[in-house]
Amino acid sequence: MPARPLSASPLSLAPPLAISLRSAHLTYGGLVLFDGLDLELPGGVFTCLLGPSGIGKSSLLRLLAGLTSPGVSGDLRGSDGRGLTGRVAYMAQQDLLLPWLSVLQNVTLGSRLRSEPANRGRALDLLAQVGLADSALVRPDTLSGGMRQRVALARTLMEDRPLVLMDEPFSGLDALTRLRLQALAAELLAGRTVLLVTHDPLEALRLGEQILVMNGRPATLSALPDLPGAPPRDPGDPALQAAYRAILRRLEAQ
């Protein structure tokens, strides 16, 4: 299925938004997740975040999305000095589909919430791109796990926002669909500031212009050396394979 070009959104013309988070602190009960964590997301850059399970990746994403919980502090701002509210698209680790809405209505949830006219055409286009053209009108409870994840992806891509946060968006997809949707995401999110959490180093290598690794408790972030070439990179590329082995070694060392 060739990726049909979707109309470029108006926002992608605006200067990309850089994000900086300074000395973030987050505790859950006695558990100190972050203490003085700093994060820079350069504007328009696709950043991938790797890290062991349970280290705090999702918590960091929630923090950036403004979903604060008690026990959190830190200084979060965009490069234009304004707050981030209303400028973030967020795909959580769970698909969070609303069971009472059809797939199509779930995809256009953002405009429903904001009482805007829904761009059904674009939604149907996106559903076709994620391979769910036939399921637009069914309720989500008849979908398979991977299909649900694709609906959630389409819903996130519908939101036309300068900062896009995605928590393991491709984890439930088979290798081929995954490759196709990675390409789709890279294309549609070009020019936006993206932070994508993944467990698959190859995925990070394929998509990331910047790759961060989160580790330790309290967690710290470290950047991997930059890779040649623009994403989406070819997973068969020997440079990628070498980097992959380097990542595994690096992760193993900790």
């Binding site: 929630r62 979903l67 609303l98 069971p99 949830l109 429903r112 919430l113 904001r114 409870d141 939101e159």
Partner: protein, 261 residues
């Protein structure tokens, strides 16, 4: 057809049970008449019974409609505003503790003897299960959905765009809880209407029963009671079926009973 047959056999079984209680409990007819006497009254007086049932049925339906509307509105208000919780909730709860004789004169003064006081009384009864259940549902929206909505809305402070979140997330998510409340309401709506007729009326099954009771026409009273109970059962199953149809995304699961498959 089959379900009608089952209904009739259930009915026959219950009447038989009743007969057994009367016979073996050695209950005098002025306390519990035997079902045959009641059936003969049902037959003989079917005209007036139907007339009074019609009046009460109308009150029940109006009470259900208004009670549900008011209950939903109250629950929304309670979940929308902390002030409402602080002021309205205690009043709501207190309202449930008021026996009808204490406020009957007030209701009559304010609403007279027409439909008004009857609807007010039945609302008072129907209203609380609806409010409490819906409010409970609204308080327990799955957090992930709320987070999603907050990110999608321009102001991500909790509390901004409350109405959009209520409308698109919290209310639909609370509909199953509301449905539970409506099921309870359907079962208590008939007694609500009867209480309303108690305050003052000149027709309706409650009126008929009070009359019959005060005159020791026990068979007639039980005939009216039977019609009222039948109304309640019908209303419950009607409401239940309707709700199941309206909430297909919240299906009944065959927990334990193979026959529900």
């Amino acid at each position: 057809m089959k379900s009608l047959g089952r209904l009739l056999s259930t009915l026959a079984g219950l009447l038989a049970l009743w007969q057994v209680i009367v016979t073996f409990g050695e209950l005098p007819p002025y306390i519990l008449p035997d079902p045959l006497a009641v059936i003969s009254v049902l037959w003989k007086d079917s005209g007036p019974l139907l007339y009074h049932a019609g009046v009460t049925g109308l009150e029940i339906i109006l009470g259900m409609v208004f009670g549900t509307l008011l209950g939903c509105a109250s629950a929304l208000l309670l979940s929308y505003s902390q002030h409402a919780r602080r002021w309205l909730l205690p009043m709501l709860i207190a309202s449930q503790a008021i026996p009808v004789f204490a406020i009957a004169p007030l209701l009559v003064l304010w609403l007279g003897y027409g439909m008004g006081s009857k609807i007010a009384m039945s609302m008072l009864i129907i209203y609380f299960p609806v409010t409490a259940n819906f409010y409970d549902g609204l308080r327990h929206t799955p957090r992930g959905w709320l987070d999603l909505a907050r990110v999608m809305l321009p102001g991500s402070q909790p509390g901004s765009h409350r109405w959009a979140i209520l409308r698109h997330i919290a209310i639909p998510a609370a509909l199953p809880a509301l449905a539970s409340g409506l099921r309870v309401a359907a079962a208590v709506a008939p007694i609500g209407a009867v209480l309303g007729e108690w305050v003052g009326s000149s027709a309706g099954l409650g009126y008929l029963m009070l009359h019959a009771n005060s005159r020791m026409q026990v068979s007639l009273m039980f005939a009216a009671l039977f019609v009222l109970a039948a109304l309640a059962v019908l209303l419950y199953f009607f409401v239940d079926a309707g709700l199941r149809r309206l909430l297909p995304w919240h299906p009944i699961t065959p927990t334990t009973d193979p026959e529900t498959y």
